[in-house]
């Protein structure tokens, strides 16, 4: 079976559509981060207390809120976890910001939530499944470390690509990956889903995946440039994308299948994680064609306009 034999799509001719599409999504995300939901950070990063309670039956939301309020906790947010397909939605996440936990001791928040629940629901009717308490310094430190690790690893990738191809290839790949991360984090902001440590792992996964996709296209461009030096760069890039298109669709499609099944059936704990992957794989595949490759051409045009040699460095010749 074969999906595409020889496609002949003018990808670069559509670059303005791509630019528009990317801009709309990036700007929407950025606006949401700046003015609407912000970057919703989980307890992991912002500090605070999170109590995950499973009730025997779906509790009345108002009653639960009153119970928590009566326990002297006024700034708690209560979130119902939608049951996975065919399950009862009887799980609630009660989260308290750091300020309400830190007034007396590290685990004051948890104790107050438990006391409030015990006063209003009988012991047998609920079960505390998970408690997370993160102090303010720990949260900040985790956040800083996750950022630094990500930035350093991007620099590492850039340097390797510089060494294997040319600097512009590395820059284009990193810009594409940054674009993907921005849009994915934007998607979290738009849908107001919290970014937790496992979501960070998912974002790292999407960075790896998107980078992989971009390199496959770049490798083909390098190979084609080495073969035919007279063809225009636009044609070479178009041809390279078309040649790798069936691979792109098959590989991304298959990975997408796995991730989608994780998103649909993987359960609540994996929800944010698999959401990031679902968005990330779509956007990562798109960006290698629509962001990274056009950047190479744009770079060459820019060089030409400055009167420098119009040819893109073909990259170090591939050894075979």
């Amino acid at each position: 079976m074969e999906l595409f034999r020889t496609t002949n799509i003018d990808w670069l001719g559509k670059k303005w559509y791509f630019l528009g599409f990317s801009l709309i999504f990036s700007v929407a995300g950025v606006l949401s981060m700046a003015f609407w939901h912000g970057v919703p950070r989980g307890v992991d990063f912002k500090g605070g207390t999170l109590v995950y309670v499973k009730f025997d039956s779906t509790p009345n939301e108002d009653h639960l809120r009153q119970a928590i309020d009566a326990g002297g906790i006024h700034d708690a947010s209560i979130q119902r976890i939608s049951g996975a397909l065919g399950q009862v939605a009887n799980e609630e996440v009660i989260s308290l910001p750091e300020s309400s936990a830190a007034d007396t001791s590290h685990d004051a928040g948890r104790e107050r939530v438990l006391a409030a629940l015990n006063n209003n629901y009988h012991d047998s009717h609920f079960e505390v499944q998970q408690v997370e308490i993160v102090g303010p310094t720990a949260g900040k430190q985790l956040q800083k470390q996750a950022w630094l690790a990500t930035i350093y690893s991007l620099i590492g990738m850039l340097v390797y690509l510089w060494f294997r191809f040319e600097l512009i290839y590395g820059v284009a790949a990193v810009v594409a990956v940054f674009h993907d991360t921005l849009i994915t984090v934007g998607a979290f902001s738009l849908t107001n889903q919290e970014i937790t440590l496992t979501v960070i792992a998912a974002i790292l996964t999407l960075i790896g995946y998107s980078m992989n996709d971009t390199i496959v296209v770049f490798d083909r461009i390098r190979e084609n440039l080495a073969l035919s030096r007279r063809e225009s760069l636009t044609d070479v890039v178009n041809r390279s994308i078309n040649q790798t298109l069936s691979r792109t669709v098959i590989a991304s499609g298959l990975t997408f299948l796995t991730v989608l099944s994780l998103y649909l059936f993987g359960g609540e704990v994996l929800h944010g994680f698999s959401f990031a992957l679902v968005v990330g794989i779509l956007i990562g595949t798109y960006s290698s064609i629509a962001v990274a490759a056009p950047m190479l051409v744009a770079y060459q045009d820019w060089r030409a306009s400055k009167g420098k040699a119009a040819t893109l460095p073909a990259g170090k010749r591939a050894k075979s």
Binding site: H106, Q130, A146, T244, L257
Partner: protein, 532 residues
């Protein structure tokens, strides 16, 4: 090409067997059980308590200078220097000791006392007015801090071991921030564990210099507004129980922290829980001298974590055993406290930074759902590969399965812990594994379209795809290594499975898949078509 196929196949099978042994071990019970024994799951997957705490190492430094103040007072007195006042005047510099009030004429005597090797950890400066300033050297401060962290880890480990938690982890965490990570699988009540870990359990016996008073103000008034420099005020419920009272205690303790050899829960004559302690021989001698000298006249306070637990008159000379009673103990609290005393005092107090508790049922449910979904997804991928690539699809499936086996084998041998972020690494590995196969197959198809024979299409397909695979894999492995270096906890778990998975993938997608192709081609006649 096609050379030494038997040798290659044999080495692949050998590697496969070794990897299987890594996570199955010697088969014993069901396969599921064997795997569970060899693959360690993180707390996010199996449930338990995860704590990160910080050791307040500055307290240990301050404690050392406190001791040195007392020693210095004694040494100066022994050298016949009277009227010296030794103390830590500056509350913001607890590593600094000042000596004032020594006559200028005695300067050389002070200098010779300070020249003693036991003060070598201080930088000494003398002022023209005859006062002295001792500042602890940075290297000594560092030593004390490192020792405090180490002792804290040891003490906490011992306390946890005595609680009987299976497979606990107590280790240094983070980069030089004096943090300790504690992981307790299968523990669901963090509160008690937290109490037991956190209690400094610094038990001291001080001489009572005055009191009890109703409040700090009363105490000040009774002492004409000034607390003597050798004394401190300390709160506690004392013998009476009930409301807190204030005592004036001699600053330097008679018996302190590490002088205790043993402590056991016991009951007093009324059947109430109390604690019996035993002192070390040396401390017992000191204690004997002290109680003998003060019997009938003085009283002493038993102080736990800077709070008076009990005040008792000294009725007779005591050598090495004593009792803490009347503290309103329950059987549980007496047992917990004696456990803490037995395992020794913490050199500094602790602050909790993170507490995460995952119920075992949630852990089990999440892993089951996640694994089922992942397996379901993989099966879908395998079916799709078979439909799309037919014969070659089998190569890809074998390569993927072998990749997973190698990864599991590594996890088993290295004892790495599989966490949720680790599973993210596995997913990326699978994604890139599928991609490697697809890259190769598409390339072979392209070459065949150009009219090459099956054998040479395979040959050049692998050759071309190989470069791309190397580039994608090395880039990702480089980033995984950097993540491992700079990341902590979850980010590291991701990096480890990713790096190992990709190395395994280079082997399976390129080498193993090639051997399978060669084996298939070797059986075919020249020029026969390839199922791809």
């Amino acid at each position: 090409m096609g050379k030494n196929l038997a040798g290659k196949t044999a080495s692949i099978i050998a590697i496969l067997v070794v990897a299987c042994f890594g996570f199955v071990g010697i088969p014993h019970g069901s396969l599921k059980e064997s795997i569970r024994r060899n693959i360690h799951l993180g707390l996010d997957l199996k449930g338990g308590v995860h704590l990160v705490l910080q050791v307040k190492v500055a307290e240990a430094v301050s404690g050392q200078t406190d001791n040195d103040v007392a020693r210095l007072e004694a040494d100066l007195e022994k050298a016949g220097i009277v009227g010296a006042s030794v103390g830590k005047l500056d509350p913001t510099h607890l590593d600094t000791i000042t000596i004032s009030g020594t006559p200028l004429a005695k300067s050389s005597d002070v200098r010779s006392v300070l020249a003693d090797n036991s003060y070598a950890t201080y930088a000494v400066a003398s002022n023209p007015d005859g006062s002295w300033k001792l500042t602890m050297k940075p290297s000594a401060v560092k030593d004390i801090e490192a020792r405090a962290l180490e002792t804290s880890i040891e003490t906490i480990s011992e306390r946890i071991n005595k609680l009987g938690v299976s497979e606990p982890t107590v280790q240094q965490y983070g980069l030089g921030a004096n943090e300790i990570l504690i992981e307790l699988p299968d523990v669901s009540d963090p509160a008690r564990v937290q109490d037991i870990i956190q209690s400094t359990a610094r038990l001291e016996i001080h001489q009572v210099a005055g009191g009890p008073y109703a409040s700090d103000q009363d105490a000040l008034q009774a002492n004409s507004g000034v607390i003597p420099p050798d004394s401190v005020l300390m709160k506690g419920s004392g013998t009476t129980g009930g409301a807190d009272q204030v005592w004036l205690l001699k600053r330097v303790s008679v018996v302190s922290g590490n002088d205790f050899r043993d402590a056991q829960p016991s009951t007093d004559e009324n059947g109430r829980p109390d604690i019996t302690f035993t002192l070390t021989t040396a401390a017992g001698n000191t204690f004997y001298k002290y109680t003998d000298a003060n019997k009938g006249t003085g009283s002493m306070a038993i102080v736990l974590d800077n709070r008076v637990r009990e005040v008792a008159g000294i009725q007779g000379a005591i050598r090495d055993t004593g009792r803490i009673s009347g503290g309103g103990f329950t059987q549980q609290s007496a047992a917990d406290l004696s456990l803490m005393l037995r395992t020794g005092a913490l050199p500094a107090s602790l602050e909790f930074l993170e507490t995460r508790t995952v119920g075992a049922s949630l852990g089990a449910a999440s892993i089951r759902q996640g694994v089922e979904a992942a397996i379901g997804g993989m099966l879908l991928v395998m079916v799709a590969l078979l439909i799309y690539y037919r014969g070659a699809g089998v190569n890809a499936i074998l390569a993927l399965i072998l990749n997973l086996i190698l990864l599991l084998g590594f996890m088993g041998y290295s004892g790495s812990v599989l966490t949720l972020p680790g599973i993210a690494g596995v997913i990326l590995t699978i994604g890139m594994g599928v991609d490697s196969n697809v890259l190769i197959f598409e390339r072979i198809r392209e070459e065949m379209r150009l009219g090459k024979t099956a054998a040479s299409a395979v040959q050049s397909g692998f050759a071309h795809a190989w470069i791309t695979i190397i580039d994608t894999h090395v880039t990702t492995i480089v980033s995984a290594m950097i993540l491992f270096l700079f990341g902590t906890g979850p980010v590291r778990g991701f990096a480890v499975t990713l790096a190992v998975g990709l190395l395994a993938n280079l082997f399976t997608a390129v080498f193993v898949s090639r051997v399978i192709f060669d084996a298939v081609l070797a059986k075919k006649e020249r020029g026969a078509a390839l199922s791809i």
